[in-house]
Symmetry: C2
């Protein structure tokens, strides 16, 4: 690639989403007199989960939401957690419900997630929301936050219509790869789903105008896998040793060898600061969308 590469600034895009969410939340309050309500439920003492939940709560407050956190002890029973979800389902002041995962091992997480009303499932994990996305009904479903955010970054480069572009997603998880493929297909890309059982992954990647990596293997995608001028979206967040920073130090890297691939790509997301910041922004967007739908108001578009 001889041109200048665009380093896609996820922090900046996320900040602009948050600004739009704030404006939309203000509009909601002006029209209804109420606040957009997000309930986050956390069970147990996992420090990383508490850090994530804390960040979500702070962001929700910054957006002008009514932000509720339910912190339950590690030994909470399945029945008690189901009862809490049911209470939140029935609470008209709550528009979004998020149960922080992973739950402690004694829970049946799937049953908990599926007990959230689809219209309050701002994580986009309910089977009804998966079905709506799979059948292209983006107007009434809620889309999983990380693929929704990655898609917004793709749109910053290519616009809404990806007709004629080949997109390749590495990784077929329910949380990211599959919904990402469905979003790309819905935007008219020709979409290939590749994964650990794929043959000649480098060759497949070289056909991609839009290359999305979500496998959780540090710097797996090499420069000679990237088509000249491709857009590269790196969803991986891998902690690796960083002896250059001192003994025992670590750093975060993506699934893409960023330093080498940025010379082939026309646009690329860094790690950190690419897809990462989009997830929480899209969570806020989903919540304000859910509130508008429930109130029968015109639904904001992000």
């Amino acid at each position: 690639m001889t041109g200048v590469v665009t380093i896609i600034d996820g922090k900046e895009v996320a900040a602009s989403v948050i600004e739009a969410v704030k404006a939309s939340a203000e509009g909601y309050t002006a029209k209804t007199g109420g606040k957009v309500g997000l309930a986050v439920v956390i069970v147990g003492n996992d420090p990383a989960s508490h850090a994530y939940v804390g960040a979500k709560g702070r962001m929700a407050k910054e957006c002008g939401f009514n932000s509720i956190q339910h912190t339950l002890p590690e030994d909470t029973s399945q029945q008690d957690l189901l009862a809490l979800v049911n209470t939140l389902n029935a609470d008209p002041s709550i528009h979004g419900i998020l149960v922080q995962l992973p739950l402690p091992k004694h829970f049946n997480s799937e049953e908990i997630i599926q007990s959230i009303l689809p219209e309050k499932d701002v994580d986009g994990l309910h089977v009804v929301n998966a079905g709506k996305l799979a059948t292209g009904d983006l107007a009434s479903g809620l889309i999983s936050c990380t693929p929704a955010g990655a898609m917004l970054l793709v749109r910053k480069i290519h616009g809404k219509d990806l007709s004629g572009l080949n997109a390749l997603v590495i990784g077929r998880s329910n949380l990211f790869g599959k919904p990402m493929g469905q979003l790309l297909l819905n935007a008219n890309a020709t979409v290939t789903m590749a994964h650990s059982r794929s043959r000649d992954l480098p060759g497949l990647c070289r056909t991609a105008d839009i290359l999305v990596a979500a496998v959780g293997r540090a710097e797996m995608v090499k420069a000679d896998w990237v088509k000249d001028g491709a857009t590269v979206i790196d969803v991986g967040i891998n902690r690796v040793p960083a002896p250059e920073k001192g003994e025992g130090k670590t750093k975060l890297v993506g699934d893409v060898d960023f330093a080498a691939c940025k010379d082939k790509a026309a646009a690329i997301t860094p790690v950190p600061g690419g897809v990462g910041p989009m997830t929480i922004a899209m969570l806020m967007a989903n919540t304000v969308i859910a509130a508008h739908r429930t109130a029968g108001l015109e639904v904001p578009v992000f």
Copy 2:
């Protein structure tokens, strides 16, 4: 291709599915004392729809099911049809409900389809069944009959595990293309979804070890689109003029130029007699599966 091509005989495979359904239905009766029940609802006088419904009813009887047909007048209201579906939903002797499409124009078909209980939705059209398939939950969902049947033909050639094989589906409909792609991905194929907005469709097709065409364009796929030794699954059914049969005569052809492509492919489905006969067989399979699930019996595998 120098070897001998396998012409995949859908009639034969469908007949073997029906034999297995019969045995399974007998087992159901032996264990429960009841019969597997399929209700087919048809509204109006469309001759083609009546022919399809008649064939389904005859096949259900042949399988040993309790086969019920509800024939409603053209001017039936949305509310009356919803009421009938609700009655069938509540009827424990009915395990599968099929509302023949298309409905007359004054109906909201989507609302009717979504009103069928997912566990009785033997057409696999409910959003919950779409979501289960999209997230790889094949153990509790019901799969749309034509892709399920096409997949069974793929398995006859390649077995259950498609690791390392590239599959390409042309056409991204909710009825066929999308669920077919999800089934192929679930079987570990590397899956590309191509469609009318794809660039260089012939070139894309030439990468496919398994090529599935479902676009509704007569004989669109040409011999030089087919990779040597590929498996070609033709889902198209197009009626075209057949002057060689006499003035005004027509014939059915697929989306694949069969006569030319069979010399490149290692295996290929004909039209008619390929995927076509599988749809009704898989409808029967879904019904007997639904009955076993409801009764808590071991569920047959097809």
